[in-house]
Each structure stands twice: as structure tokens, then as C-alpha cells.
């Protein structure tokens, strides 16, 4: 058992941190980047590509770095720290992860290479209006048309969907839920602002041309569930980074802001609340870290994702809200960062399943184990 980064991992973390600190040195800088489409920094994205970050989890022969969940997790945590708007989790871990898991050798080479070098942005078009984190597609349907396929239906929200060069789209077929590739500009995409200042799109398919991802005729529900779980764990790490920064932002504010002639840090009730934020942070961090390591050890990703999500979502709401409340009015303004942390944490803990969703999953599986043993290898439960 070992919770320390090795020297390569530490170097990666430092490099990513430096890059992001430069890019998002101020709230103003982040707002400026988000003011214009696509809602994230194209330059920063390319810099991340140059650093190898966008190819982290992929094999070297498709242009990747062949790193594991630990590296992916530490990058996510760094992104979270400055609430960077780049869609690393959605494009690399989720859409890229699906291409990697399901795609043919040619598709993997073409798409993951482009993803890794920053030339091809992938998006995952899966959520449908009214759906609640189901791993299967319901209303979007795919039909054979000639050699290829045609998609019909609506996906929303699709994170960075209007910017994506290629969309990975889930759709119903006779085989169940299959995955398809659609060239971004072939789809009707209406972009909108997201809660955290980013962009998502409503993507409408009206007989839109598509290629099947991987072999045709195979139900991909499980593959989607697995990829979402891996992305969820990375999002949890991103949330941990954001919570840590939100806490320290608050602590610094308490130390410097004066009211009634003294700094806020002299008020015991506020200090205690900061202490409770720290407790929540550390519990969430432990669980998110564990989920990462469990992935690394080949454990049950779905169980780990739900466990991390329940803990992180609780902490995120608590820490996000308290960061705003302890700051007071200033945190309500877009010019100050505390509120943006609250908003980003909301997105990170809702995009891939909220707390109730994950808790219900755990609650429905209580009788499968006597207790949870975090050190059990492969499975968390005994």
C-alpha cells in the first residue's frame, strides 16, 4: 500500500500545474477564455497535447503515453485545482476511452492519434432529453443505410459538442445500444452555456450519416457503463482538486478579511466550519484516490465510481456552499472565484450521475457483501 507519487508522476504533476497556473492565473483570465466559444482555451488544449496529457491513457502505437489511472487522476486533480475549463475528462477519458475500448485498430489509430496530438477533439453524445444517467440509448436510433448508418434523434447536453470534430454517439439498434462515429459538422449542433461557464450542445440527428464504432451488432451498454465509471472517477479527482482550492481560498479570506475590526478568523464558529470543510475534503480525497487505485488494480469500476461519487458529491455540495457562505457577498459575484468553484463542483457531480443516483446503486446492492474491505484486491467487497 502506497499513496505517494513516483518521481515521473511528480514531474508530470508539476508540469501540468505550471502550465495551468500560467493559463489561469486569475479569475479574469478564466472568464476571458470562457467568454468566447468553445468555452475553453484552444491554446492550452494544444499545450496539454504537446505535454502528452491528451494521450495519457492510450497505447504508444496510437500516439499515446500508455499511462494509467494514477496519471489520469493527477491531471484531473490539477485541472480541478484551477477549475480549468478544458474537457479532458469528457474528451480523453470518456470519448477517447470508448474509442480505445471498442474501436477497430484503424479507428483507434486515426482518432486517438488525433485526440492525443490535439488535432481531433472527440465528444461523447449520449445523454438524451429526460434521461438520467442510463448507460443505454433510448430515443436516438440508428438504421443501416447503404454501407453505413443513419442516426435519428436528439442528444443533450453534449459537453463541448459544438466544438467536437468527431462525436461518439450511442444509439439503439437491434443489437441494443451501439456506438457510432459522426463527423461533427454533419450534425445539427446548437451550443449553449453551461452552469460552469463552459459549453454544451443540443445535437440533433436527422438521418445523419454515421460509421459504427468497432464491430457492428454488439451491444455496448457495458462498455459505456465502464467508460462512464472511469470518467466519473476522474471527475471525482477533478472535484477534489477544486474542493481543496475552494477550502484554501476560504481559509485565506478568513485570515485577511476584517469585519467588526478583526479578521474573520477570530470568529470561532467560522473556524469550526472551515475545520468541517477540511474533514469532508480529506474523506472525499481518500475515497477518490482509492477509486483511482482500484481501477489501477483492475477492480470493479462501477462500484468504485459510485462509492467515490457519493462521498465526493456530499463533500462538494458542503464545501462549495460553505466556501460561498463564509466569503459572503463577494462570492456571489462572477468577478470572484469562490462562486465559480461552487458552479464547477455542481457540474462535476451531476454530469455523470448525482449523489442520489450513485447512492441508490449502492443501496440496491447491500446484500452482496458483509462489509467493504478497501484493501481487497480486485473487488472492494467481501
Amino acid at each position: 500500500m502506497d499513496f505517494e507519487l513516483d518521481s515521473e508522476q511528480t514531474a508530470l504533476r508539476e508540469a501540468v500545474r505550471d502550465l495551468l497556473n500560467d493559463a489561469y492565473a486569475s479569475t479574469e483570465a478564466r472568464r476571458a477564455v470562457q467568454a468566447d466559444d468553445p468555452g475553453f482555451g484552444e491554446k492550452t488544449w494544444l499545450q496539454l497535447a504537446e505535454m502528452g496529457v491528451l494521450g495519457l491513457p492510450f497505447a504508444e502505437d496510437v500516439g499515446g503515453m500508455e499511462a494509467g489511472p494514477v496519471e489520469v487522476g493527477l491531471v484531473a486533480e490539477e485541472l480541478g485545482r484551477v477549475i480549468a475549463p478544458e474537457p479532458f475528462v469528457e474528451a480523453v477519458v470518456l470519448a477517447g476511452g470508448l474509442v480505445d475500448a471498442v474501436g477497430t485498430a484503424d479507428q483507434r489509430t486515426a482518432l486517438l492519434g488525433g485526440l492525443s496530438d490535439g488535432s481531433t477533439l472527440l465528444g461523447f453524445a449520449h445523454t438524451e432529453p429526460g434521461s438520467r444517467w442510463s448507460p443505454s440509448a433510448e430515443s436516438v436510433r440508428a438504421e443501416r443505410r447503404g454501407d453505413g448508418w443513419a442516426l435519428t434523434g436528439v442528444k443533450t447536453p453534449v459537453v463541448a459538442g459544438a466544438r467536437a470534430d468527431v462525436l461518439v454517439v450511442s444509439a439503439r439498434t437491434d443489437a441494443g445500444t451501439e456506438l457510432f462515429l459522426v463527423t461533427g459538422e454533419d450534425a445539427d449542433r446548437a451550443s449553449f452555456r453551461t452552469t460552469d461557464g463552459g459549453r454544451a450542445a443540443t445535437v440533433t440527428f436527422e438521418g445523419t450519416a454515421a460509421r459504427v464504432l468497432g464491430e457492428a451488432g454488439v451491444d455496448r451498454t457495458d462498455a459505456i457503463a465502464q467508460a462512464v465509471a472511469r470518467a466519473q472517477i476522474a471527475a471525482c479527482r477533478e472535484a477534489v482538486g477544486a474542493m481543496e482550492r475552494a477550502l484554501w481560498l476560504t481559509v485565506d479570506y478568513l485570515k485577511t478579511r476584517k469585519q467588526f475590526g478583526v479578521t474573520l478568523s477570530t470568529f470561532q464558529a467560522l473556524k469550526f466550519r472551515a475545520a468541517d470543510m477540511y474533514v469532508q475534503l480529506e474523506l472525499a480525497r481518500s475515497t477518490a484516490l482509492w477509486a483511482t487505485l482500484l481501477l489501477d488494480a483492475g477492480g470493479d469500476a462501477l462500484d468504485a465510481a459510485s462509492r467515490a461519487s457519493v462521498q465526493v458529491a456530499e463533500a462538494a455540495r458542503h464545501i462549495g456552499q460553505e466556501a460561498v457562505q463564509l466569503h459572503g457577498g463577494i462570492a456571489m459575484t462572477a468577478e470572484y472565484s469562490a462562486g465559480h468553484y461552487l458552479a464547477r463542483l455542481l457540474v462535476l457531480t451531476h454530469a455523470l450521475g448525482d449523489r442520489t443516483h450513485h447512492l441508490s446503486r449502492l443501496a440496491s446492492n447491500l446484500e452482496g457483501h458483509r462489509w467493504v474491505d478497501p484493501l481487497a484486491y480486485g473487488s472492494a467487497t467481501a
Binding site: 449553449f192 453551461t194 467560522l270
Partner: protein, 392 residues
């Protein structure tokens, strides 16, 4: 002890309900029911309708349009209004500066301002908070220096809600920097916002809305007759202004409607139009909120029923504290009901395909975090409860 309203009060409730649902145009009410904020025009239009009927400023002295209603009736009046989605009279006018001018202003000030204030011919803004004085109001730094028949005002105010619409602003200023205590030496001035040297800058909030403003005073010259009451008594007037209302502290009817909407939405908001109420965790959460709200409403009713006129009731702090927490909890519920659609920040642009309520869930949630900060933060309310009620 008796639960039901007296016959007279019940009749009053009917009368109010009838008035609000028939005399205020449905466009105004519908727009709000759909989840949009009231526009300036709606607020002005509604207040003028109420004022024409003599029910815009019931808490004022009778000679200036007040109605001498019991606190219970004022409660009923306000709750029925909120329930009917009618924008309540602008609080800066009706609950804040109006009563202060009526209580402390000269006859000339009253005649000059009260009718226009009741009719919303003047849109008042509040100039209390400053960048370095949030909850600690007494540390304000904006100065007003007497120069002949005028004060020269310099300084900065912030958190001026809806100040972008303001015609006039009532402002706390320091007229005597040498006063032995910080609370002394503060005066209350009425300032025409079109005066040279007044600058208003709307502040963007985290939900993308513009509600509050910064207001700068740069050598703004204000006639001395715009002083309310006596110089140096501003702190007293401010406390009167902030503390004299125990009716409507918690917007029970608004929360009730929001929660009822949430329940209705949940009943068909699941995948394929299924009911989210079939999820026992969702159902329990809604039942819990309905019950919390019931407890809050009953507590508000106890406060107005046992009201001792004139004295700020310390239980107001209970209502403010619990009311904001309950209100916030309903916005959290809606975010969770919205599911993945909670990613949208409103239903503009490409989000038009999302249900209106779902697309607005997150911005409302973010916006409503203000409720426990503005108007005396919940920490201030706890301090009041501990101090005034518990003697701690």
C-alpha cells in the same frame, strides 16, 4: 387556542385572493409562474394597481396610505400576493425608506416623497453596504461634508440591489468622522441618482444575472433638505429600517409554490415521462421539505399572531434563518430533479430543447445562495438568536 382564521380574517383572505388573481394582469403573473424574474415594468405596473386600490403600503401610517391592519392581515396580504405570483411592492420603497420618512422625515420630505414612493414613481435604491463593510455596517466610510446648503458626498456603496433601475438612493454617510463611537456620526441622505458624480455599475453574479450594483459618489452635491431627520441619527434610522418588519420575513408562499411545482414536475420528470416520485428517496425528500415548510409557515403564523406591535420580534431571525435554508433546499431539489440537464445555465440558445424548469434549475440554485448572505447573513441571525433570545 383556535386553528382556523376568524370569519373576518377568512373573508379578508378571500378578498385578497380575489383581488390579486383578477385585478393584476395575468401576463405579469404568468411570466413569474414560468420561472422568470419580475421585470421592472411588471413590478411598477403591479405596485401602481395595488396603490390605486389602496393596498400597496398597508404598514405605513394611515394618512400616507397605510391600512392599520393587524400583523396577521399584513401576513395574509403578502402571502396571497406571493401565492398569486404578483410582484410585491418594491421593498426599498414600501418596507424601507417609506416607513423611515414617515416616522422621522420632516413634513416637507413626507409630502415630497411619500406619495411618489407608494406609487413607485420613484424607484428607490439602498446605499448601505460598502466594499469593506459587509455585515459590519457601522464601519462605513462614505463621507458627506457640509458645504453651505449642500453635503458633498464621496465614497462607494455596493450590493445595491436593482440599483440599475434606481431613480433615487437612500444612503448612509459619515457626517462626523470624529464621533466617539462608530455608530454615531452616521446620517441618512436621499440622493438623486441623476446627480453629477453618481456612477452605477452592475455586477455580474455567478448565475450570469445582474441584480446588484456598485454605486460611486464622486463629489456629489446633495441639498441639506435631503437629510432624513437629524444629522448623526442615521444609525438609529437604519436599525429601524432593517428591524421593523416581522411580517413576510420568510417567503413561505413563494417557497410553497416552488415546492409544489417541483412535485408536479417530479411526477412526470423521469425518463419517458415516468414519475420520479416512485423513487422513495425522492419522495421522502419532498415529504421532508413539505414538512419543514409547514413548520416554517406555522412559526411565521405564531409570530404574526402573537405580535407585539412596534418591537422587532427576535423570532424574525428564526424565520430568516430557516426560511432561507428551506428556500435553498428547494433549489437543490430542483437541481437534482433536473438530472443531467442541470448542466444548462438557463434555456437560451441551444438549450431551448430542455424543459424550462430544468434549464433554470442550476442558475436559480446558484442565485439563491445569496439568500443566506444578504439582508443580515445567517451568521448574524444566529448571533441575534443567541444574544437576544437566549441571552448568550
Amino acid at each position: 387556542m383556535r386553528l382556523r382564521l376568524s370569519e373576518d380574517d377568512a373573508a379578508f383572505r378571500e378578498e385578497m385572493r380575489e383581488f390579486f388573481t383578477t385585478q393584476v394582469p395575468s401576463e405579469i403573473r404568468e411570466s413569474f409562474a414560468q420561472g422568470r424574474e419580475h421585470s421592472k415594468d411588471d413590478i411598477v405596473a403591479a405596485q401602481r394597481i395595488l396603490n390605486a386600490a389602496g393596498i400597496a403600503v398597508p404598514a405605513w401610517p394611515a394618512e400616507w396610505g397605510g391600512r392599520d391592519w393587524s400583523p396577521l392581515r399584513r401576513h395574509i396580504w403578502l402571502e396571497e400576493m406571493r401565492f398569486a405570483n404578483v410582484p410585491p411592492p418594491l421593498s426599498f420603497n414600501a418596507s424601507m425608506i417609506g416607513p423611515v420618512i414617515a416616522a422621522f422625515g420632516s413634513q416637507e420630505l413626507k409630502e415630497r416623497f411619500l406619495p411618489a414612493t407608494a406609487n413607485l414613481d420613484i424607484w428607490w435604491s439602498q446605499g448601505f453596504s460598502e466594499p469593506d463593510a459587509g455585515s459590519d455596517l457601522a464601519s462605513l466610510r462614505t463621507t458627506a461634508v457640509r458645504d453651505g446648503d449642500e453635503y458633498v458626498v464621496n465614497g462607494q456603496k455596493t450590493w445595491t440591489t436593482l440599483g440599475q433601475h434606481g431613480d433615487w438612493i437612500f444612503t448612509l454617510v459619515r457626517t462626523d468622522p470624529q464621533a466617539p463611537k462608530r455608530q454615531m456620526g452616521i446620517s441618512l441622505l436621499l440622493v438623486d441618482m441623476t446627480s453629477p458624480g453618481v456612477t452605477v455599475r452592475p455586477i455580474e453574479l455567478i448565475d450570469g444575472s445582474f441584480e446588484v450594483n456598485e454605486v460611486w459618489f464622486d463629489q456629489v452635491r446633495v441639498p441639506v433638505e435631503n437629510l432624513v431627520g437629524e444629522e448623526g441619527q442615521g444609525w438609529t434610522y437604519a436599525k429601524f429600517l432593517l428591524g421593523n418588519e416581522r411580517v413576510g420575513v420568510a417567503p413561505v408562499a413563494s417557497i410553497k409554490r416552488a415546492l409544489a411545482d417541483a412535485k408536479r414536475i417530479a411526477a412526470t420528470g423521469g425518463p419517458g415521462g415516468s414519475s420520479l416520485l416512485d423513487d422513495p428517496l425522492v419522495a421522502a425528500r419532498i415529504a421532508e421539505l413539505e414538512n419543514r415548510l409547514l413548520a416554517l409557515e406555522l412559526t411565521a403564523l405564531r409570530v404574526v399572531a402573537n405580535s407585539d406591535e412596534g418591537k422587532p420580534h427576535p423570532a424574525s431571525s428564526v424565520l430568516k434563518l430557516n426560511g432561507t435554508e428551506t428556500q435553498q433546499a428547494v433549489t437543490e431539489l430542483l437541481v437534482d430533479l433536473a438530472g443531467p440537464a442541470a448542466l444548462a445555465l438557463g434555456d437560451g440558445d441551444g438549450a431551448q430543447g430542455l424543459p424550462h424548469w430544468a434549464a433554470h434549475a442550476s442558475p436559480r440554485y446558484l442565485n439563491m445562495r445569496k439568500a443566506s448572505i444578504y439582508g443580515g447573513s445567517n451568521e448574524i441571525q444566529r448571533t441575534i438568536i443567541a444574544g437576544t433570545i437566549l441571552g448568550l
